[in-house]
């Protein structure tokens, strides 16, 4: 069944992500966001398949969730206190709700983004080009996808190399730690500058920007099932907005 969902055009997948993410960003209601999260988890399971991996990423957000709850509680004058210490309010009902909304919103975005991650990145680039995104920007996305893992592994190598000079980075004082981090800046920057220079030379030596336009070998074609899904997505998004803003459903929590 995964294969059937893989075969959807990247633009269809982008439409799904755009619809769900936009709704999650605009609407600030815990019940609606919970509903969107269920939908996005379902879509992620259908298109991407590796729910465990995405769950692991969202788990890291729990610390941020707790921080947001506390901050909202401290700075929000309205709301009933749920936890106070010595007259100082640490946790309010509004703070709790706002924190939950944040966590749900980010989770929706993460899970729905995995729908696009199921596509090969050449399709992502071509999809952007056929959506009339300038080639230079689509190309930057492609180069980013191609080189970010390389930069990440270089960062790891540089950090390893400096520690192998006898520096135990976990045990040194904070001031010395900062100094060590300032030293890793040089090889990382030098490596990045070198790469960028070599890359741009190679591209220009192969006629990059010879003309204002360029043709494309890979062409993506939308088929009926793509159109159906995009229309359904549009109807779904419209329905959620109408229900929330026009009919006031599901109503206020606080």
């Amino acid at each position: 069944m995964r294969k059937a969902f893989d075969s959807f055009d990247i633009r269809t997948k982008l439409a799904i992500v755009a619809g769900i993410s936009t709704t999650a960003v605009v609407i600030q209601h815990v019940y609606v966001l919970s509903f969107l999260l269920i939908i996005s988890i379902l879509l992620s399971a259908l298109f991407f398949g590796d729910l465990k991996k995405t769950m692991k990423t969202t788990r890291r957000l729990w610390y941020v969730f707790i921080a947001i709850i506390v901050l909202q509680s401290i700075f929000n004058r309205s709301g009933s206190p749920l936890l106070s210490i010595g007259g100082f309010t640490l946790l309010t009902d509004i703070g709790l709700v706002k924190g939950a909304e944040f966590l749900l919103r980010i989770s929706v975005i993460l899970f729905s983004a995995t729908v696009v991650a199921s596509s090969d990145h050449r399709e992502v680039v071509q999809g952007l080009v056929q959506l009339k995104v300038p080639y230079e920007i689509a190309f930057m996305v492609s180069v980013g996808i191609r080189f970010l893992p390389l930069l990440r592994s270089e960062y790891i190598d540089v950090m390893t190399a400096i520690q192998l000079r006898g520096i135990d980075i976990r045990k040194i004082p904070f001031k010395k730690k900062l100094k060590v981090y300032s030293y890793i800046f040089t090889p990382i920057m030098a490596g990045a500058i070198n790469k960028a220079r070599n890359l741009s030379t190679a591209m220009e030596a192969r006629a990059f920007r010879a003309y204002p336009e360029r043709t494309s070998y890979l062409m993506l074609k939308l088929v009926p099932k793509d159109y159906i899904v995009m229309i359904l997505m549009l109807l779904f998004t419209a329905a959620v907005f109408i229900l929330y803003y026009v009919f006031g459903f599901p109503g206020r929590i606080l």
Binding site: Q163, L164, G166, I167, Y183, T186, P187, G191
Partner: protein, 222 residues
């Protein structure tokens, strides 16, 4: 029983948790002398080098450095015993000047300023970098960067070196220079393992040759 400086005992390793790159590796390396690891691309020689350094930890089995399991050692602790030269020396040059490159770590560790400057001068002479002292490290040639990276490693006084493909990108003259530097270090009591596919290079040394094929090791003479 020979006491090995680096010992691998039934070591297995896999990057993705499914396909083993190394399996059932047994190996003992003495603290002195020259060892070469040779093997085709993808045979696992760099992986073995990183396992020896504790950069990678075995999935099963153990790697001991001077009797200590690499799983219990931090990279800092390993680095004080074994220096590792990456194939790309760029990763190991942290400063913008040659002198600072050789002094900033000892300075961070609290070494005496006169001592560390003296040691830096000694290393600059040893690695033939005298006329490069005032050149920004970014502008050094590939061979010069490699020599500076070796000097930076030696500034930490390791007993042993592991060098990953040190001859890549070096012309004949710079290769000869590297050979004479490594021979001088061997003569001074520093043991080393060179990971390479350059048979011509290792013919300049006497020691052990460990050939790696399909994750297994065969010993030959150089």
């Amino acid at each position: 029983m020979r006491l090995a400086f680096i010992a691998a005992d039934d070591v297995s390793f896999s990057y993705d948790g499914r396909n083993p790159v190394i399996s059932g590796l047994d190996m003992e390396i003495a603290a002195r002398g020259f060892t070469a690891f040779m093997g085709p691309n993808g045979s696992g020689k760099t992986t073995i080098g990183k396992l020896m350094m504790g950069i990678l930890k075995p999935v099963s089995g153990s790697v001991l450095i001077d009797g200590d399991d690499t799983r219990q050692l931090s990279l800092g602790q390993v680095g004080s015993k074994i220096g590792y030269l990456y194939q790309n020396p760029q990763f190991q040059i942290f400063s913008q000047t040659v002198t600072d490159e050789l002094t900033f770590i000892p300075r961070l560790k609290g070494a005496d300023e006169d001592d560390l400057m003296q040691e830096a001068e000694r290393l600059i002479r040893l690695l033939h970098l005298e006329d490069k002292k005032d050149i920004p490290t970014f502008d050094l040639s590939y061979g010069e960067k490699q020599r500076l990276a070796i000097a930076g490693i030696l500034a930490c006084s390791p007993r042993y070196l592991i060098l990953d493909e040190p001859t890549t990108g070096l012309d004949m003259v710079r290769k000869q220079m590297l050979i004479s530097i490594l021979k001088e270090l061997l003569g001074g009591g520093i043991g080393m393992t060179v990971i390479t596919h350059d048979r011509g290079f290792i013919k300049n040394f006497s020691g052990r040759l460990l050939k790696i094929e399909e994750g297994r090791i065969f010993e030959e003479s150089i």
